[in-house]
């Protein structure tokens, strides 16, 4: 393969793919959410546009695209416009570090299914995910309206609380795998014969709960609680900017699910990758396994949303500081002790 193709075209192609891939997942997720919640509630859900309503998200997108873009007179225009971009960009950027599958060999060239390789990919993702909060805060502040402001304030409280258990649980994974590189973490799970989800169940549960909270999803959807704050921080947004927030939220969910899979469920690995007689599972490409696992967690997102009431923010903060943080601290301590003993 010519160096031109390898050095230039493939990265460009990868960059395109990393934009298209989350978008496709978002579309599937939007459709999945509406259908699954409907089924849980005894309804059918959108089923008219395309096969089983799969094109409904496109129809919504087209509608939003042609809607009037309203900017309030008293809004801070710069921040108001910046906020959706910030949220979208930071979410998309974090997809760069997610490995989608095992490197594919084409002749001598090794096609890696991730855009950027970094020894601290995990940290970068966490950092980017914190940046998207700024988008929420800017959006709520710049709207110059009371409900968005309250939504933004809630968002700050929520993120301040949930970043800590996320960090602590991720740390426990890093302890066990002795790496911050996502690809390396997956490889370690292969070589250590066990997915970290089973090795570190507490870390997994705490990370999962915190992940739901970080994506502002039910039951932690306080910043946009529709029965209280109308639409929370994006109340004043319309048209395409609203679509940006909307899509970014779903992309963020896909990202957190991917992270869950990579950290705790062996990324692209099939179940029991080292057991001989289950080797036929390798017939399915790693990417498909990866997708299956992601879809499971995305389904759980919807399932949880369809079941639970919403937390109030004081009890949410209480949950973090009284339960999750002590739990993850003890967990980290135990992991560190066992890790140094064994």
């Amino acid at each position: 393969m010519s160096p031109f193709v390898a050095e230039l075209l493939i990265p460009v192609f990868k960059i395109l793919a990393i934009i298209v891939y989350p978008m496709v997942m978002v579309i599937v997720m939007i459709w999945l959410e509406r259908r699954v919640v409907a089924w849980i509630q005894g309804r059918i859900g959108p089923n008219r546009v395309g096969w089983q309503g799969i094109l409904q998200p496109f129809a919504d997108a087209v509608k939003l695209f042609f809607k009037e873009d309203i900017i309030q007179v008293n809004a801070d225009k710069f921040l108001f416009n910046l906020a959706p971009v910030l949220v979208m960009a930071s979410t998309l950027l974090s997809f760069c570090f997610l490995p989608l599958g095992e490197p594919i060999r084409i002749g001598t060239y090794e096609l890696k299914l991730w855009v950027a390789e970094s020894p601290v990919g995990l940290l970068l993702i966490l950092g980017l995910s914190s940046i998207s909060v700024f988008g929420v805060i800017f959006g709520g502040w710049a709207s110059n309206s009371k409900y968005p402001l309250m939504g933004a304030l809630r968002s700050v409280i929520q993120i301040l609380s949930y970043e800590i258990p996320v960090g602590l649980t991720v740390l426990s994974v890093a302890f066990v795998s002795r790496s911050m590189d996502l690809v390396e973490i997956v490889r370690r799970q292969e070589s250590s014969h066990v997915w970290y989800g089973f090795l570190l169940p507490v870390s997994f549960v705490v990370f999962w709960i915190s992940g739901i909270a970080e994506t502002n999803r039910a039951p932690f959807d306080l910043p946009e609680a529709e029965s209280e704050l109308v639409a929370g921080f994006h109340t004043e947004y319309s048209g395409f900017k609203f679509a940006f927030f909307y899509v970014a939220e779903y992309a963020h969910m896909v990202m957190i699910s991917s992270l869950l899979v990579v950290l705790f469920f062996g990324g692209w690995l099939p179940p029991f990758p080292n057991v001989k007689f289950l080797h036929f599972l390798h017939l399915l490409p790693g990417f498909i396994w990866y997708l299956i696992k992601i879809m499971f967690f995305l389904y759980c997102y919807v399932w949880i949303r369809g079941t639970f009431p919403r937390y109030r923010f004081d009890s949410l903060v209480k949950l973090v500081w009284k339960w999750l943080i002590p739990l993850s601290l003890v967990n980290l301590l135990v992991v560190a002790l066992l890790g140094s003993v064994l």
Binding site: I40, G42, R43, I44, W303, F308
Partner: protein, 158 residues
């Protein structure tokens, strides 16, 4: 002991799992949505749909223009005039106007009608694209089915 059980139940999220099991069961259960234009729910036996005037078996109008319905109507949506033709024994309506947009479908007119001339049909599609579709005159009160839909909608339905 009880406290321990309660703590363990709380720690292992038993209450939340119970809820999740309920929604999971409903996920696989029968759906109640009626997909409207294709499926239509059969109206109940005494369904109060659009008011219609009826004729007897010989095709003679049943209405005798007694105006009982006009008097009982809480919203005053009838305007009836009766004329006794020469030699005839009973009044016959020459004008029977009904304003659909004022009607509350309370059913008092149907109950007081001595000849059961005015009755509820099972027609529930009463949208109209123009105000004229909501005004019925005497011939309009006898329309049924497709003819009636054409009156209401001006033929917008296929």
């Amino acid at each position: 002991m009880k406290a321990i059980v309660r703590f363990l139940k709380k720690f292992f999220l038993v209450d939340l799992l119970v809820g999740l099991s309920v929604t999971l069961r409903h996920y696989f259960s029968r759906k109640v949505t009626i997909q409207y234009p294709e499926q239509v729910k059969t109206p109940g036996t005494r369904f109060r749909g659009l008011l219609r005037l009826y004729r007897d078996e010989q095709g003679e109008p049943l209405c005798i223009a007694c105006k009982a319905c006009q008097r009982i109507c809480p919203t005053g949506c009838f305007d009836i005039e009766g004329v006794k033709a020469e030699g005839a024994k009973i009044l016959r309506p020459v004008k029977f106007d009904w304003t659909l947009d004022r009607c509350t479908f309370c059913g008092l007119c149907v109950e007081v009608c001595p000849t059961a001339a005015i009755r509820f049909s099972k027609e529930f599609r009463m949208t109209s694209v123009e105000k004229a579709g909501l005004r019925f005159d005497m011939p309009g009160m006898y329309e049924e089915g497709a003819e009636l839909q054409k009156h209401l909608c001006g033929g917008c339905l296929p």
